[in-house]
Amino acid sequence: MKQFYGVTLKTPLMLGTAQYPSPAILADAFKTSCASVATVSLRRESGRDKSGQGFWSIIRNLDVHILPNTAGCYTVKEAVTTAHMAREIFDTKWIKLEVIGHTDTLQPNVFGLVEAAKILTQDGFEVFPYTTEDLVVADKLLDAGCQVLMPWGAPIGSGQGLNNLQGLRSLRAHFPDIPLVVDAGIGLPSHAAHAMELGYDAVLLNTAVAKAGNPVEMAHAMALAVEAGQAAAIADPMEPRDMAAPSTPVIGKAFLT
């Protein structure tokens, strides 16, 4: 498994911490999912006066790598400020960088993203950029100093799955050595498994688990899915073909009759 800024993850699942019915269910879901990374969003209002302490201590007690994010930031300045707050509060150089460009689809503003990535990398951050599957943007992010890419599967919280398979495949093919994470859009375990089958190094999801009727059960399903998808990718799947190929030998049978 590839390293994320020098860190080898125990499992390829990154789980968000928002929208669970309660922190107790959040903690149970993490245990069941075997997730190795917890993303946590920092609101600037609670970051400034540290009023989120009660919730943050629950996240710290999950005993997984913490990846703070800049969710809800629409400008480079907001994202950079939030990243600095997050570094101070969670004592980590990791930052999942989101610069949102569109209120309805929450699609990333890739121009702001590249700019913020450059600033944060120079400030010593290890940036996990939430981006689209655009190859050129990916290239610019790597130029900016990112060593991980996190293309979306579909809009955040939409649960639509992988909307542009070809784009995701192409990204994988062009950047074989860069850790790639499908971030956002996962609704079902099959989506997560599919991302792993494409050779992605991890999957990041939140709503699919947090908003399931039974989050803990869905966390379990996601754990199985990423494990299956990862094993499949390692196993080198067969190529699909047009012609049927019987799996039992036909030699010796009177097939010409």
Partner: protein
């Protein structure tokens, strides 16, 4: 003979005091202020007695124990409106409704005509919704005031001097009890009180939305309570522009006449909650802690009061007790 000092005259403290007094015990109440008011987070409550709707996100005890609430309030404070509650969603969020129906009980699907009968002012805006007939609501400030008046009639006053360590203390300080209850956290809520005489509603309306779910509770005389955000923070002093914008936008989407509403009050406070968002009764030495009502103050305080009194009078341990 039961004789206790209760610290904190919010919804938990007043309900427990009422329950103990009703059972013939002696109660002394202590609070920072001599009367009820904005220093208690129950002052900012919505006052919905909606156990079935809350079941969407809450654990099973909330649905079960919450069903006692309407009768308890009727008996002690009166003023309970039993008009049910209505759950609605706008156009493209309609899938939220079917999910809500699937994950709750006690809901009936209603069409536009039925909605128009229930709430004539909303009839043209919505063609499907969910109606929970058995739910109720009350005006939380009136209810608290009535409990206090009735307690005062029995000779109970709220003292602002710190209590001397008596034989038994019940700590109902809410979030302030974090000094003793380390697993208690604050969940910030922001709400608005609006005056909008152009809209008449008879029951709480919940507007489902993937990002900004809101509810509106009619308080009578054209006054509405609009709530409430849920933010993992203890900060209680201020509303953000974004929260205000989201709350008002959702109200405006429910009925355009809310665009003309007068904003009477802006309320911000933090609800005390344990990790599973369920209340707890904890006995430590001579102190009984009753806390963690979260967003279910008026819904679960009656059960909390009964269970606290059951323990005091009969030594009966309840499901809310998780340690000795």
């Amino acid at each position: 003979m039961i004789d206790v000092s209760i610290i904190g005259a919010g919804v938990a403290g007043l309900c427990i005091a009422t329950e103990i007094a009703e059972r013939g015990g002696t109660v002394r109440l202590y609070d920072r202020k001599p009367s009820i008011g904005a220093h208690a987070c129950s002052w900012w409550a919505g006052g919905m007695l909606a156990p079935f709707c809350e079941g969407m996100n809450a654990e099973e005890p909330v649905v079960r124990l919450g069903q006692q609430a309407a009768d308890w309030w009727d008996k002690t404070a009166g003023g309970v409106n039993r008009n049910g509650s209505l759950v609605l969603a706008l156009g493209r969020d309609r899938s939220e409704l079917s999910q809500f129906a699937r994950r709750t009980t006690g809901m009936d699907v209603v069409d536009g005509k039925q909605i128009a009968v229930l709430e004539p002012d909303l009839g043209n805006h919505f063609n499907t919704g969910l109606f929970c007939a058995s739910e109720a609501h009350l005006d939380p400030r009136n209810a608290l005031a009535t409990l206090l008046i009735k307690l005062q009639a029995k000779g109970v006053t709220v003292k602002t001097t710190p209590p001397t360590m008596g034989p038994k203390m019940i700590d109902c300080r809410g979030l302030s009890a974090r000094d003793a209850l380390t697993d208690l956290r604050g969940v910030k809520g922001e709400m608005l009180v609006l005056k909008c005489p152009d809209v008449i509603l008879s029951r709480p309306i919940r507007l489902l939305h993937p990002r900004i779910p809101i509810y509106i509770v009619p308080r009578g005389d054209g006054v509405f309570m609009l709530g409430a955000t849920m933010i993992e923070a203890t900060e209680r002093g201020r509303i953000t522009a974004r929260s205000m914008l989201e709350l008002l936008t959702a109200a405006y989407a429910l009925h355009p006449a809310f665009g003309e509403a007068e904003v009477l009050e802006i309320g911000v406070d933090a609800r005390p909650a344990f990790p599973d968002n369920l209340p707890r009764i904890r006995k430590r030495g001579n102190v009984i802690y009753a806390n963690g009502l979260y967003r279910h103050g008026f819904l679960l305080a009656p059960a909390l009061a009964r269970m606290t009194a059951d323990y005091l009078f009969d030594g009966k341990r309840s499901e809310m007790m998780d340690e000795d």
